[in-house]
């Protein structure tokens, strides 16, 4: 059975959940093989094996993380040439898409981005135009390169050998031309990643100001959720731009999305329309966001949201 390569998303060996989702999808197509670039592989091996990786290719040289994007593409391109995998799966993050993009050119392959499902024959399902159109696509040339959105599938335990195979890759001069000279970490306040979170609680113009986001954050924390914002809220400077959900912000597809004081403009819906369950709090019964709601309350968020937070606290004991 041909291998299916999965690029591991990790921070110093702590593997992100999306990687396990990719391994689960890979098993439908062939034999999952993880590709780990950077340091910390030892910590990652057990989890990768547990989720189905028969092989874990490890490329751990300092220069691989000293330059953006290109080194990972070259590691994958080398493995694609040597192993002739049935497909390569990557996370649909900004970096995952760019690695896939360079790999497509290097390996002479087509690429599909933002898949929400992948079938055994490599057919990918995409939800385009903000989720209003569902498309089935297939790569027709080279090795199918598919980037998959977080939360597309439930990761499954499928214990496999997880045999470590170290690989050495000679980087091209072009890959080394751009250098990372500094890494700056900005505090994210202990909440889960917006793109990865199972629950997202968002606020819009109805929140009224930066202080108003206090009630949104309190609700988020009661559910262990990430906080999101509409562009009206980020434009006004009430909440940082990296938390914007929508067409020109992040695309999220959590199990639960709670929209507070958000009208539901087409560009906002583009970033959250594929959420599994949507709850809405808005004082205008005509707000278009109610069209997406599984459950909605027409009311003032400043009374409804704190009451909800308190109630969750009680029920969780």
């Amino acid at each position: 059975m041909a291998e299916v390569l999965v690029l591991v998303e990790h921070v110093d060996g702590t593997v992100k959940k999306v990687t396990y989702e990719l391994l689960t999808l890979a098993a439908r197509i062939g034999e999952p093989a993880a590709v780990f670039v950077g340091s910390g592989a030892d910590a990652a091996l057990p989890g990768l094996a547990e989720h189905g990786a028969a092989t874990v290719y490890v490329a751990d040289a300092p220069e691989l993380t000293a330059h953006p994007v290109a080194p990972k593409a070259e590691v994958l391109a080398t493995l694609v040439a040597e192993r002739a995998p049935a497909a390569v799966l990557l996370a649909s993050t900004a970096e995952g898409k760019e690695v896939g993009a360079r790999l497509a050119i290097r390996s002479g392959s087509g690429i599909i981005t933002d898949a929400v499902d992948v079938a055994a024959d490599g057919t990918a399902t995409q939800a385009v135009f903000g989720g209003s159109v569902i498309v089935q696509s297939k790569v027709a040339t080279g090795t199918p390169i598919i980037t998959v959105r977080t939360n597309s599938v439930a990761p499954q335990a499928a214990p496999a050998a997880g045999t470590r195979v170290d690989v050495a890759v000679e980087l091209s001069a072009a890959a080394k031309a751009a250098k990372v000279v500094d890494r700056v970490e900005q505090a994210k306040g202990g909440r889960p990643d917006l793109a990865e979170a199972a629950v997202v609680v968002s606020g819009g113009r109805g929140v009224g100001g930066a202080e108003g986001f206090g009630v949104i954050e309190a609700l988020a924390d009661s559910l262990g959720a990430a906080v999101g914002a509409s562009r009206a809220a980020t434009d006004a400077g009430w909440y940082p731009h990296q938390f914007q959900v929508g067409q020109t912000g992040k695309t999220v597809a959590p199990q639960l999305y709670i929209a507070n004081g958000i009208s539901g403009a087409i560009q906002h819906r583009a970033g959250m329309q594929t959420s599994k369950t949507v709850v809405v709090v808005n004082k205008d019964p005509e707000a278009p966001i109610f069209e997406l709601a599984d459950f909605g309350v027409v009311g003032d968020l400043f009374t409804v949201v704190p009451q909800l937070t308190e109630e969750i606290g009680k029920r969780k004991g």
Partner: protein, 267 residues
């Protein structure tokens, strides 16, 4: 490394024409490509930031700004808009054979056109608002062997070196490279200017050259729908969502949501 005298720095900005993001977009039933006729076309909003960044670099350093767009004949409107913001000249890649090109083919056409210009710095937006792939800049960098400094929230050029802040999931990376180089910029890196009346009048006289496949040295078989390396087999409107339960807050709206969340096992 090539010595770049900033006063003669040539910046190429890539802009895409897209359907207005307010429009309901659909795929044409005949070939599953975007129906671009039934909706208003505008410059990809994220590319306005790229044009603005190019103009700012030009204002502080000198040099020339050329705007490059691949698209059907009406894409000249988008090129004119960039010219009316202040860019010096336009290049329009247009050929019926390009219809239906995938990202791989698009990057080929753009790379050839950029090569012909001999750019010192190439600036992209970070994503189109129609297909939203965020892959074309990385593909062009790979094709041209240019250093890739994408997803930039700041860009500066000094003495032949470009320095950017690359937005990451945890904050940002400071990235540096010698020119010539390729940059993409994120939303909100700057405040794009509106074209002035004077700018709009001046744009009418600015040169826009066109390039077709033959001019780019691309064989028709390499691009377009027929050559696409990824193909759409099927497209359908998303089934409408079943209507949810909407209640008016009677003083216990928060409790009602908690009941719903408990029933759905979220609590």
């Amino acid at each position: 490394m090539r010595e770049v005298d900033s006063a003669t720095m040539k910046i190429v900005v890539c802009v895409k024409q897209v359907p207005d993001s307010w429009a309901e977009k659909t795929l044409r039933p005949s070939d599953h490509t975007l129906d671009r006729e039934s909706v208003d076309a505008v410059m990809n909003e994220l590319d306005e930031y790229a044009v603005e960044e190019a103009l700012r670099l030009q204002e502080s350093q000198g040099g020339e700004v050329v705007v490059l767009s691949m698209g059907p004949s009406q894409a000249t409107d988008t090129i004119r808009k960039a010219l009316s913001m202040g860019a010096d000249a336009g290049v329009h890649v247009v050929d019926d054979g390009l219809h239906g090109s995938d990202a791989v083919a698009t990057s080929l056409a753009l790379a050839k056109a950029i090569e012909a210009q001999g750019a010192d710095l190439v600036i992209f937006g970070s994503e189109s608002t129609d297909a939203r792939m965020s892959v074309v800049p990385a593909m062009v960098a790979e094709r041209l062997g240019l250093p890739q400094l994408t997803f930039s929230s700041s860009v500066s050029v000094e003495g032949g070196t470009v320095r950017t802040n690359r937005v990451t999931e945890y904050g940002y990376d400071v990235v540096e490279a010698p020119l010539p180089a390729l940059v993409s910029v994120v939303e909100k890196i700057n405040e794009p200017r509106y074209p002035s009346f004077k700018g709009i009048m001046a744009a009418k006289k600015k040169p826009v050259s066109t390039l077709d496949l033959a001019g780019l040295g691309i064989a028709p078989a390499e691009v377009g729908l027929g050559a696409a390396w990824s193909v759409v087999a099927e497209a359908a409107a998303r089934p409408p969502k079943a209507k949810g339960t909407i209640v008016a807050d009677d003083g216990a709206g928060g409790v009602a949501i908690a009941d719903f969340l408990s029933a759905q096992k979220f609590i």
